[in-house]
């Protein structure tokens, strides 16, 4: 431990506070139902789709295209996951197969 217990508690408090603020903010700011603000209601309808897109990219943010293996394992695993899901529509199958393939790729193929 670098910090004292009290300092550690304060840091934990700061991280918790920061997280709570970002999660509660919209609910506090838009007390009224979203349907009463037409713009916010519009955002509420379209943001979920944009947010998942952002989240996928967020997961991949550490992947380097210029260094080996150039994001190839990620690309293959995502294509397999997506294709399986288009084809079968079975969530656990798509996620399971995609993850296993990714693990084989990073541990066995691209080492």
């Amino acid at each position: 431990m670098t910090l004292t217990p009290v300092q550690t508690l304060i840091i934990i408090g700061a991280v918790t506070l920061g997280t709570v603020v970002t999660r509660f903010l919209p609910f506090v700011v838009f007390k009224k139902a979203a349907s009463e603000h037409s713009y916010i209601s519009y955002l509420g309808r379209v943001l979920p789709y944009a947010a998942i897109g952002l989240l996928v990219v967020y997961c991949l943010k550490g992947v380097s295209l210029t260094e080996a293996p150039h994001g190839i394992p990620e690309a293959i695993a995502i294509i397999v996951t997506a294709a399986l899901h288009f084809w079968k529509g079975n969530t656990l199958l798509s996620i399971g197969a995609g993850t296993v393939i990714y693990m084989v790729l990073v541990n066995v193929v691209f080492t």
Partner: protein
């Protein structure tokens, strides 16, 4: 009571991918914390109170440098700014959730959001309790994973490389599910494009907020087109 048990039963299978992801990431987090001299108690307390995966990973650096709580707060706000989008998306769904609401909002992490925003509880299941259990299970998996990591400590060299891909795969599957409905495609493309462009422009540690602003600007720009489409769908559903 039966109502709650049914809601729990409906929630469990949907959270299994989160279980796999959180046990892995949580354990890795616990091991990382213990390698810095923070034992089981600290790890569990942080995971229980903050319940924010990526912010907690970054917070390891705040715990191992000169004491600076303001910096920790600001960094956390920046890393977790994406949660603001989740809140806006859930305003209506969480509107009439009564006394469960504060906890539902507290636990709205990436993974919980991805499930509650895209899944309608099965017929006959109480919505509020369904949302509650999806949130509670996620929270539980995360704390449990961290505790396992804290217990194992530096005893083991933790090397299951690539298992964290399970969360990426979860989001890809949700993305594909949304893609099936034509009207959702433009906002989905906007989300990916803005994020990719900002990632390339600003780098991985600074792209989230520019990406969020770009998404807001693009969605505003396309409002006429998208509003028409989503309203048209609503009319059809009537």
């Amino acid at each position: 009571m039966k109502e709650k048990i049914n809601a729990l039963k409906a929630a469990i299978p949907l959270t299994l991918p989160v279980l796999a992801g959180f046990l892995f990431l949580g354990t890795a987090y616990g091991i990382l914390m213990s390698s810095k001299g923070y034992g089981l108690g600290w790890t569990v307390l942080m995971s229980f109170a903050a319940f924010a995966g990526s912010a907690q990973y970054v917070a390891v650096t705040f715990l191992t440098m000169v004491f600076n709580p303001l910096y920790a707060l600001l960094m956390t706000l920046i890393i977790n700014a994406r949660h603001i989008f989740y809140g806006i998306s859930m305003l209506d769904k969480y509107r009439n959730t009564g006394r469960l609401k504060p906890y539902l909002i507290f636990g709205l992490c990436d993974e919980t959001f991805s499930i509650v925003c895209t899944t309608e509880p099965p017929a006959g299941i109480n919505k509020n309790w369904f949302y509650f259990f999806v949130t509670l299970l996620g929270h539980f998996y995360w704390v449990a994973g961290s505790a396992v990591g804290g217990l194992l400590g530096s005893l083991v060299s933790f090397n299951i490389k690539g298992l964290d891909f399970v969360l990426t795969a979860l989001f890809v599957v949700i993305f594909v599910g949304q893609w099936r409905t034509k009207e959702n495609r433009l906002p989905a493309v906007i989300g990916v494009m803005c994020a990719v462009v900002c990632l390339l422009l600003f780098g991985q540690s600074r792209f989230i907020i520019p990406a969020m602003l770009a998404i807001l600007a693009s969605l505003t720009l396309f409002r006429k087109r998208l509003d028409k489409k989503t309203t048209a769908v609503k009319e059809e559903l009537k």
